[in-house]
């Protein structure tokens, strides 16, 4: 298995997030020799998914702000006189304010081990903690002041590793704290939740099966917990790319089954397909007609400019008010279908968003969204596999110390890796988090607030417990961002049986916990059973939770980075949008800049892709003709395809 790494490539890609992986695949596909490295021991960077134990190690790693000072080979001797270096960052600083909480009993969880697993991530030894506050200096408002403030007020508290007794006391503390902050922030008595009074309610028989923390740990491998929470629009750029490039063969998907809305303290299902509209019990006949009429209009609103042109300068919300729609329908359309802001989305943008949603309906199911089995983290890996299929070389746990720049031409010539090997190439793709503070000093980053919860039941129980739901919770204060919630069931292969994985995401205004905890309190029961009031019993119980802020490096112009050579391209980490269009667009733009004459991820011609599919390659044919019309009926009994096309290589590395 051991091999020597070649020292010359066409393209070196640093980081295995989605845009980098797409670029790597596109480059390899067009015949470039690609080296793809990641300093972590897992694929995906901030797009990765983790098992439960993997996530715990990730949390630990990000809470201990240690600098990795592993010995690197000296590389100064590798740099020639007419060359300069751009050092890369040694430590990922994109994750902040990580706080995890365990709400169940941690009954002897200390001794429990994940079945058949080894620790996935290296555990860094404790050492002088570097204050996270230091680095928030570079983060821009609105995050800056809020983050700093939060930092000083609330030292991160993590119960994940505390013994059970301590956790017990801790829970109560969280609860009371929540109550006060909650009622202050919301001042809505109807939504009161965080009661600490002890109501020794008898657990009734229909109570959902109790899952304990130790069960979660033991079944930890059943979890695939995404760092970013996204869905694929069924007619979005990513689906198109997956299909076009044939990378879709490597993954399977589930349709999101429900669109939910949160209105007047209640969760309701949003009818969006025609069948839903008619079946809906919460809509009156009149409302059904209104909704049908409005949505039908949205599908080809361009054809009816007279209907909206008077409102082009108003917000979509204002426009909706002028339509014959009841408040609940306006809510559905604004927050759950168009999923746009009430305050700053124009009529046209709103119509566009609504149309996009409606157009995505019905391609794969009753909602516009698909979710990859085993989590979003699979998608970058799928593109990496495609890259490898076309000869790309993969090295995880491989850090790059610096970029070597030719002083005269100003172009980057090579990298030096942590073994001190110098590897030359023509193009370099670097993910934002690998760039040093020097390079990013003028860059203004936004932040994403994230929470992940493991709960014991769905936010909206129906006959089927296997639901993938998306729920938008509008902001309490106008002008703040809405919170997007995706609830995954166990059949998405992201959580163990009888649990749900709930992802909350919004652009940050403060720390993730401050941004999202109020919403968590509204929708979930954060108490341990004993202290739970009856009304609380109806809400899903949170068994475990983590909050963190992730840097949003999307939408940054390359000129904001200091002193990067023209043949070094920067890929951003995940953005806060629901879809993946941003990553795909970025990948295509960068690829096209490097290779304007090449097609971006064209479908693989069969012989080169070396797919021997008995169903698809007719025995006597060349293998080119693969169109469905001429596809021969596969004879089910056939035992050997007899296809004669030999394994052909794109190019031969060795």
């Amino acid at each position: 298995m051991a091999d020597n790494l070649p020292s010359e490539f066409d393209v070196v890609v640093i980081g295995t997030g989605l845009p980098e992986s797409i670029i790597a695949a596109a480059c390899a596909r067009s015949g470039q020799r690609v080296l793809h490295v990641d300093s972590r021991n897992y694929y995906g960077g901030n797009w990765a998914s983790f098992s439960f134990s993997g996530l715990l190690s990730w949390i630990k790693e990000n809470q201990q702000k240690t600098d990795i000072c592993d010995e690197c080979e000296d590389w100064t001797k590798l740099i020639l006189e007419n060359e300069e270096v751009i050092s890369l960052s040694k430590k990922d600083k994109t994750i902040q304010h990580v706080e995890d909480f365990c709400f169940g009993d941690q009954d002897s969880a200390e001794d429990v081990e994940e079945a058949g697993a080894l620790p996935k991530l290296p555990v860094f030894g404790a050492s002088g903690a570097e204050e996270a506050a230091q680095e928030s200096e570079k983060e821009c408002p609105p995050s800056e002041s809020a983050l700093l403030e939060a930092e000083s007020q609330e030292p991160a508290k993590a119960t994940g590793t505390e013994p059970a007794a301590a956790a017990e006391g801790k829970d109560a503390e969280i609860t009371s704290e929540n109550e006060s902050s909650h009622s202050m922030a919301l001042g809505e008595s109807t939504l009161e939740l965080g009661k600490t009074e002890v109501a020794p309610s008898e657990i009734s028989a229909q109570e959902p099966k109790k899952i304990t923390y130790s069960q979660i740990v033991r079944e930890g491998r059943r979890f695939n917990i995404d760092l970013v929470s996204k869905l694929l629009y069924s007619r979005g750029l990513l689906i198109d790319l997956l299909i076009k490039s044939n990378v879709s063969r490597y993954a399977e998907f589930k349709n999101a089954t429900r669109i939910l809305a949160f209105r007047e303290g209640k969760i309701e299902q949003v009818p969006c397909s025609r069948a839903d509209v008619f079946n809906s019990r919460q809509l009156t006949m009149v409302e059904k007609r209104m909704l049908m009429k409005f949505l039908t209009f949205c599908l080809d609103y361009e054809q009816h400019p007279d209907e909206y042109q008077d409102y082009e300068s108003s917000t979509f919300a204002q426009f909706l008010r002028t339509q014959k729609l009841t408040p609940s329908l306006q809510h559905f359309i604004l927050h759950s279908i168009a999923m746009v802001s009430e305050t700053d989305c124009s009529t046209l943008e709103g119509l566009q968003a609504t149309k996009k949603f409606l157009q995505c309906l019905g391609r794969y199911g009753n909602t516009p969204f698909l979710f990859p089995l085993y989590g979003q983290g699979e998608i970058p890996q799928c593109f990496c596999r495609m890259c490898a299929v076309f000869g790309g070389i993969y090295c995880l746990r491989h850090s790059v110390q610096c970029l070597v720049v030719d002083t005269e031409s100003g172009r980057c010539k090579a990298i030096v890796d942590h073994f001190g090997q110098r590897i030359s190439a023509n193009y370099f793709i670097v993910e934002d988090s690998y760039l040093s503070e020097n390079v990013c000093r003028n860059v203004c980053y936004r932040q994403i607030s994230r929470a992940v919860l493991i709960t014991d039941q769905s936010v909206l129980n129906t006959d089927s417990e296997q639901q993938v739901s998306i729920l938008t919770v509008p902001p309490v204060d106008l002008g703040r961002p809405a919170v997007c919630i995706i609830e995954l069931c166990s059949s998405t292969m992201t959580c163990m049986k009888d649990t749900y994985l709930v992802h909350l995401t919004c652009p940050s205004t403060k720390t993730a916990r401050e941004d999202l905890e109020p919403v968590v309190q509204k929708l979930f029961n954060l108490n341990t059973e004993k202290e739970t009031e009856n009304e609380e019993l109806e809400k899903p119980r949170v068994l475990w939770a983590v909050y963190f802020n992730m840097r949003d490096s999307s939408g940054i112009d390359k000129s904001s980075y200091d002193g990067l050579p023209s043949n070094v391209y920067v890929c951003s980490g995940p953005d806060s949008a629901l879809g993946n269009d941003c990553a795909v667009k970025q990948a295509e733009t960068i690829f096209q800049e490097m290779f304007p004459a090449e097609e971006f991820c064209p479908p693989p011609p069969n012989p080169e892709d070396i797919i021997y599919d008995e169903d698809e390659i007719a025995p006597e044919e060349s293998g080119f003709d693969n169109s469905p019309e001429t596809k021969p009926e596969p004879s089910s009994e056939e035992s050997s395809s007899g296809d004669s096309s030999a394994v052909k290589k794109e190019d031969n590395e060795e």
Binding site: M1, D3, G116, L118, I239, L242, I243, R249, Y250, A251, E252, F253, K254, N255, S273, R274, A275, F278, N279, M292, K293, T296, L299, L358, Q359, L361, G362, R363, Y364, G365, L373, Y374, Q381, C382, C384, R385, A388, V389, F390, G391, C395, L396, D609, I610, I611, Y612, E614, D615, P628, S636, S640, S641, G642, D643, S644, A646, V647, N652, E653, E654
Partner: protein
């Protein structure tokens, strides 16, 4: 008609042990002396009958990602079986086999069927790994073991038959694929959009186009066989149209 069951099988083992040659022999009954190291094959398929089912093997090759220990976990996802290959003339390759087993236990699905193939048994005069060692090891981890020759077509069919037999029969209560969607190559024939429109204007034609043309929602074989369900849905759909048809008139 027999039910077709798709089974993902992944291949593991040192470079040069004959992984690609084994698959090539199995799928195409062909052996090439000058096969070059795999930079990456996507995957190959072959269907074999097993009891009253047809097993369609989707055989994945590593695409070279294992060379620098960077195999992506998605490679193992949903694998029903893994074939771990060593070369009986190379002790080293038997040693690394054990590492692959460990890796599989760590990242692979729980109930994965493991099959160990001691390849190149046509070269038994320069053998370095005794059959006994492999047998003992396989027993200790509950794996199938067989010595194969891709060159002389020895035990290749048997290897996959062995895997087929170890695959537990489909649980009738559990939908084999959990209703997972595979994205097809063709785009919808009803046009790029208009689920809404189509549904409104002619529910019937939409219904039929969806029935006859499962793409791009290419329902996997398991579901394709459960047509009663689809028929039932179709019935619901029609009934629904009728009862609601008066509403359409409200829509200009």
């Amino acid at each position: 008609m027999m039910a077709i069951r798709e089974l993902k099988v992944c291949l593991l083992g040192d470079t040069g042990v004959g992984k690609s040659s084994i698959v090539c022999r199995f799928v195409q009954d062909h052996f090439d002396h000058n096969i070059s190291p795999t930079i990456g094959a996507s995957f190959m398929t072959k269907t074999v009958p097993c009891g009253n089912e047809l097993h369609k093997f989707l055989i994945w090759d590593t695409a070279g990602q294992e060379r620098f220990h960077s195999l992506a976990p998605m490679y193992y996802r949903g694998s029903a079986a893994a074939v771990i290959v060593y070369d009986i003339t190379k002790q080293d390759s038997f040693h690394t086999l054990k590492k692959w087993v460990k890796e599989l236990k760590e990242h692979g699905p729980e109930n994965i069927v493991m099959a160990i193939a001691g390849n190149k048994c046509d070269l038994s005069d320069i053998r370095e790994v005794p059959m006994k060692d492999a047998k003992e090891y396989a027993e200790s981890i509950g794996a199938i073991v067989v010595e194969t020759s891709a060159k002389n077509a020895v035990n290749i069919e048997e290897l996959f038959q062995g895997i087929s037999r170890q695959i537990p029969p489909l649980d009738p209560h559990e939908n084999g694929n959990n209703g997972a969607i595979k994205l097809g190559k063709q785009t919808s024939q009803t046009g790029p959009f208009r689920y809404w429109k189509a549904a409104i204007r002619s529910p019937r034609s939409l219904l039929f186009s969806r029935l006859n043309n499962p793409n791009p929602l290419s329902v996997s074989s398991q579901e394709r066989c459960s047509s009663p369900l689809i028929v039932f849905m179709a019935l619901l759909w029609t009934r629904f149209n009728r009862s609601m048809s008066f509403l359409y008139w409200g829509v200009p």
